[in-house]
Amino acid sequence: MRFPIDRLRAQLRLPFWHRADIEAEVQSHLAEACAELAQEGMEPAQAEATALERFGSLDGVGEALQAVHRDWSGGATVRQALRRAIRKTVRHVVLIVAYAALNLASFPVPFMAVLGLSSILPPAVTSFRVIGWAIGGVMLTGWGLWSILVAYAAVRAIGAGTLTGTLIGATAAVMVAALGSPHWHRAPWHYPPGTVRAYVAWWMLASIVAGSTVGGYLGARSLRKAAVESREPSAQDRGSA
């Protein structure tokens, strides 16, 4: 049964999908009321009229709902989405330019990692801060901070547990160390001990191992925290709504 709720519809200046959602809720309410009245022995036509009467002024409810959702008028949400898309595009362009400027030999890997990070981090941690940390980390502390970020992103993307995440980070670090890096030229143990180059190479290796382990742990921990926060409310909570 469809109830005549044109007067409510007329008040809603919302996108059609949003309006349909509200209309469906009102129709569902009226149908439920009508069914209950019919069960009590009321004639269908009378039940329908009574349900509508009990619901109250459709104009008034429509007006109040429009006031609640007034942000929708003029497509504010669409504008917001557009702004977000533009910001994202600008961010990626800045990333490309920044990495091109740094002229890093391993450009694609860190670029993809930062891209991943910028899409998964919570809003409070802005992407530009992450870019700043990543570039600053590379330039100031060798590969340590960078490794934290990469492992963090990887573990979050994989969805690993805390222990597994830490192990993934550590394993990745060892693999990177074993395979070497275009920046190292040679593994640290190939340099004459006590030379500056050997110290720098050992520092890089140590920072990658430590950074990846910490990053893996942090990534997994943040996932666990997010899972706890997004858990469905309990039956008791549902009862109180």
Binding site: I22, A24, V26, S28, V61, H69, R238
Partner: protein, 86 residues
Amino acid sequence: MYGYRIIKELSARSERHFQMKEGSLYPVLHQLEKDGLLTTEWQEQRGKPSRRYYHLTSKGRKELARAKGQFNAHVRAMRSVLEPGS
């Protein structure tokens, strides 16, 4: 709980003290949802229109506890004024 059920519960628990126009509930629910105090989900019903269920969020639970505390304090204060020495 869904809108119609909330109305019925409100009426039953208040022993029909709160009798309001049913439609007036929805703007309130939508505002609470917009404020992040409630979340909603549609549930299919066999042979009946779908229902939109409302659930309290963690923010909503905190706000409810705060409002309950405020209300109880208000009631205690009023009782002290109206029934001194009770």
